[in-house]
């Protein structure tokens, strides 16, 4: 580089001394200045300033071929650009929103920066007391380091003059597209949780970005926000599999850097049919080992509390109560037998949870994007649960009596043969509990499913233990039973009364079915319930009949139950309901055409891809999307909310999910307003799966 570089440097110094200032090129565009290597100018998204409004401007650097300027973390050497503002009274300027960088390798060192051209977006807020009709001039001194192989610190004055208007300022014809493009390159918050593990030699990041296809990713690179945690120049071994992305890289020089979360930007370059897409996500990776200890404890505690609360749910309370009634009736019975019943019941609960949770975790390990309650996505499972709860309710109503060997409810408690029944009751309680989600379950279960299977199972078993705990304690600690009321005729009445929460649960499940699978499924399920009722009645009368009739009766009962179950799959073939009905609220129903229409109109659009069975979705809607602050933020920016309901399968929605590398809900997309058609095809911001009010409002403010 020697002579050439030196000459250009001399030239630069000469030119810098003159400090070129070109003539102003009209409103919002800007005088440019700089050196032969880098010219800078301020560009504005808007062609005017409105009092009290916030708007984007950008520092545009045009960089000579071969030279580069730097990112916020410049890498192993270099320095990020800076602007010292001279703002009119009352104006405030945000920090630079850094577009994702490129890697520049110089010998053994790695730099992060920009070449050719970069626009660094900055948000300006005007004071409310600006007088329309006047002009304001935003000025500052930009300084930056530009390097080819040699490095030259440069600086230049920058300024931007804009008229003040009363109404909404228009978009600047050249500035707006430049800023829109730059902001697309600013990393969006990562939709995936991330952790890292550190060894003395390496740091390995695990990003739970499931559903990505390895073949399509041409590049995965993690740019740390700060020096020290990882070796900037070292190779990054990226793997994409069913669990997500892992990136292994040599450790940086700063030992304490791995004691705290590591922030940075994950850049994924994906080959699509139409070209290459580069997406940047701002990550904050927590130390995996350090957090999981604390987080595990918290999740286990939450799961335990959630499990205890499950006992109060209408689908579980009757089961538990009947068991408790049995205790009252037999409080004089052997303490040992009772303990055994308690343990058998708990084993039933835990076993049942282990099966469901094990299945869930295994499916997730296989790449399925499912969560707790996934069982209820199947109309067949919903139908069968309705049958089960209906049969239990009929038993409590006295339509038939469940034998000791079958369920062990009530009087069979003290019998030795009832242990199996107690186990079965426990399993039943766990199954009956699945539709009822207690308030604490969401967080704990959300944590459990992202963990290794052992940890996940532990959290689910804590949930089960919580469910089993009240009954278990009553059986284990005899003195507690003193607080139970005396047995009497009231017990029979209570048992009959407890049938009604179960009938209510059945009614609710049928409603779920109506949402999921439409009227045909409901009709099939209701028909099945009639058959179950008939079977229950036949079961009772055949028990008192003569042996020959009894055989025929039981055969008929079996046939009816089989018939009812056979009706179940009918639910699965029923037509899907009208999604508009479920969308409700202020949201419009999503369709690709409607989205395109709104985008063409230049409206910002929020797409909420959700499903009635998706607990996370419902929580997000309640906590974040329906909050007053979010509603206000949407209204302020004129955001149109489109709801894509995936409760039933929908090819259009599935396709859209697929285009974002997802196979399940929730998915939240925020499309910035299209600017004069130029960025209409641009990608939306993908919001995190777990929404907070702040995250949504932040995202809305960025558009």
């Amino acid at each position: 580089m020697g002579t050439m570089g030196r000459m250009s440097r001399l030239l630069a110094i000469a030119l810098l001394a003159i400090c070129l200032m070109a003539a102003s090129a009209g409103d919002g565009a800007a005088a440019w200045s700089g050196s032969p290597r880098v010219t800078v100018e301020l560009v504005s998204e808007r062609d005017a300033v409105a009092p009290g409004k916030t708007f984007w401007i950008g520092l545009r650097q045009t960089i000579a071929p071969g030279w580069h300027t730097y990112w916020s973390n410049p890498g192993d050497s270099g320095e990020p650009p800076q602007i010292d503002w001279t703002l009119p009274a009352g104006f405030t300027a945000s920090d630079i929103s850094w577009p994702n960088p490129e890697r520049i390798r110089l010998g053994p060192a790695m730099s992060y920066g920009y070449s050719n051209e970069v626009v660094l977006p900055i948000q300006l807020t005007a004071p409310a007391n600006l007088v329309p009709g006047t002009r304001v001039t935003v000025a500052g001194r930009a300084s930056w380091l530009v390097c080819e192989k040699e490095c030259i610190p440069e600086e230049a004055p920058v300024s931007l003059s804009l008229p003040v208007v009363a109404g909404e300022p228009g978009l600047h014809p050249t500035g707006a597209p430049l800023i829109a493009r730059a902001r697309q390159a600013v990393p969006s918050p990562s939709p995936w949780p991330a952790t890292f593990t550190a060894t003395p030699e390496t740091v390995t990041f695990a990003v739970a970005a499931r559903g990505l296809v390895q073949d399509r990713l041409s590049e995965v690179w993690f740019y740390p926000a700060r020096w020290g945690a990882i070796d900037h120049a070292a190779a990054q071994q990226a793997r994409v599999d069913a669990r997500g992305i892992t990136v292994e890289v040599a450790r940086g020089q700063l030992p304490e850097a791995t004691a705290a979360p590591i922030e940075g930007v994950l850049v994924l370059t994906e080959r699509l049919d139409g070209g290459v897409v580069r997406q940047a996500f701002a990550l904050r990776a927590a130390p995996a080992a350090a957090t999981s200890g604390l987080a595990l404890l918290r999740s286990v505690a939450l799961a335990l509390a959630g499990g205890i609360l499950l006992n109060l749910m209408p689908c579980v309370l009757p089961v538990l109560s009947v068991k408790a009634l049995g205790l009252i009736q037999h409080s004089a019975g052997s303490a040992r037998a009772m303990r055994r019943h308690g343990l058998a019941y708990s084993a039933g609960v835990l076993g049942s949870f282990a099966v469901v949770a094990g299945t869930l975790l295994a499916l997730r390990a296989g790449g399925e994007r499912i969560g707790w309650g996934f069982q209820l996505q199947s109309p067949l499972v919903v139908t069968l649960l309705a049958y089960l709860l209906f049969a239990m309710a009929l038993a409590l109503s006295g339509v038939f009596v469940i034998g000791a060997r079958l369920a062990g409810v009530g009087q069979s408690l003290a019998a030795r043969s009832g242990y199996g029944g107690s186990f079965f009751t426990g399993a039943l309680a766990a199954v009956a509990a699945t539709p009822c989600t207690a308030p604490f379950m969401g967080a704990a279960v959300g944590f459990a499913v992202t963990q290794p299977w052992t940890t996940g199972l532990l959290v689910f078993e804590a949930l089960g233990l919580g469910l089993a705990l009240p009954y278990l304690l009553l059986t284990l600690i005899p003195t507690w039973r003193r607080f139970l009321p005396r047995p009497g005729a009231w017990m029979k009445r209570l048992e009959e009364l407890l049938a009604f929460p179960l009938y209510a649960s059945v009614a609710w499940l049928v409603w779920v079915l109506s949402q999921q699978a439409g009227p045909t499924a409901v009709a099939a399920a209701l028909g099945g319930l009639v058959l179950i009722g008939l079977a229950a009645w036949l079961f009772r009368i055949s028990r008192h009949a003569r042996a020959t009739w009894r055989g025929a009766g039981l055969t008929a009962v079996a046939a009816l139950v089989v018939g009812a179950v056979a009706l179940g799959p009918l639910a699965g073939t029923a037509p899907a309901r009208d999604p508009a009905q479920a969308a409700g609220g202020r949201a419009e129903t999503f369709s690709p055409r409607r989205l395109a229409e709104l985008r063409a109109q230049g409206r910002p659009v929020f797409v909420n891809v959700t499903a009635a069975w998706c607990i996370t979705c419902l929580v997000n809607e309640r906590v974040a999307l329906r909050s007053d602050a979010v509603t206000e933020a949407f209204a302020r920016k004129g955001v149109v909310v489109l709801k894509a309901d995936w409760t039933s399968r929908d090819a259009g929605i599935a396709e859209m999910l697929g285009s974002f590398g997802r196979s399940g809900v929730p998915l939240y997309l925020l499309y910035a307003p299209a600017l004069s058609g130029r960025v209409a095809a641009s990608a939306p911001a993908v919001l995190p799966q777990i929404l907070t009010e702040g995250a949504v409002i932040d995202a809305v403010n960025r558009i």
């Binding site: 053994p108 020096w227 190779a235 700063l254 295994a362 296989g366």
Partner: protein, 215 residues
């Protein structure tokens, strides 16, 4: 719902759980990271030719505190510290207390900062610098051994030969001369701690400056 429900599909999938491990995306790595000197471990031994023509080894100065300064007189960040006499003042302060100060030039021939022995001596003279010696490392072997990425890049080695500080000269990573007076000089602090036999409070910092002009 004409398609199988998700849960049934999922159950089917579970019966044949496939391993999804794909080939990893290989990258070229930094060849030298593994051999770089590490703070709190013995400083790697090296020998290099000084402007005097003599070969100087780290081992020659066993039992003494040694400062290594990677330099390139044309780098704006180096000039910041020489044109404010900040570097020279620190050199004089250190060498007066018996510290060995080795300025090392790892610029390859024809790269920025590469100088002849007489040019280097001339620079020392005109700038009023006071290193114990100025060493040449045109192949970059020493620089890469120490993981020197920047000019200036500073190292402090204690009397036992253990590397105690690696990183920037101070906490103001700019090329602005006006930042020198208000800066906290990490090397000065490290030298004081090492001389007192105490651990260095900030033993590792991000070096700032120009990249070393390796071959």
């Amino acid at each position: 719902m004409s398609e199988p429900s998700l849960s049934r599909r999922a159950f089917l999938a579970s019966t044949g759980l496939a391993a999804f491990a794909g080939p990893s995306l290989a990258r070229t790595g930094s060849a030298w990271a593994a051999t770089a000197a590490k703070v709190a471990t013995p400083a790697p031994a090296f020998s290099a030719v000084a402007t005097t023509g003599k070969t100087v080894s780290l081992a020659d100065h066993a039992g003494k505190i040694v400062v290594l300064e990677w330099t390139n007189h044309e780098c704006p960040y180096v000039r910041k510290h020489y044109e404010t006499s900040n570097m020279q003042a620190l050199q004089k302060e250190a060498t007066a207390q018996g510290v060995i100060w080795l300025s090392i030039i790892s610029s390859a021939p024809n790269e920025q900062g590469y100088v002849s022995a007489s040019q280097a001596d001339e620079l020392t003279k005109t700038r009023g610098a006071a290193p114990t010696a100025v060493l040449f490392d045109p192949t970059g072997v020493v620089g890469k051994m120490y993981g020197a990425t920047n000019t200036p890049h500073m190292y402090v080695i204690d009397k036992a030969g253990v590397l105690q500080y690696a990183g920037a000269i101070d906490d103001k990573p700019t090329s602005r001369k006006s930042d020198v007076p208000g800066a906290q000089n990490y090397v000065r602090v490290a030298l004081a701690s090492v001389a007192a036999g105490q651990p260095v409070k900030t033993p590792i910092t991000r070096a700032y400056g120009c990249t070393v002009k390796y071959a």
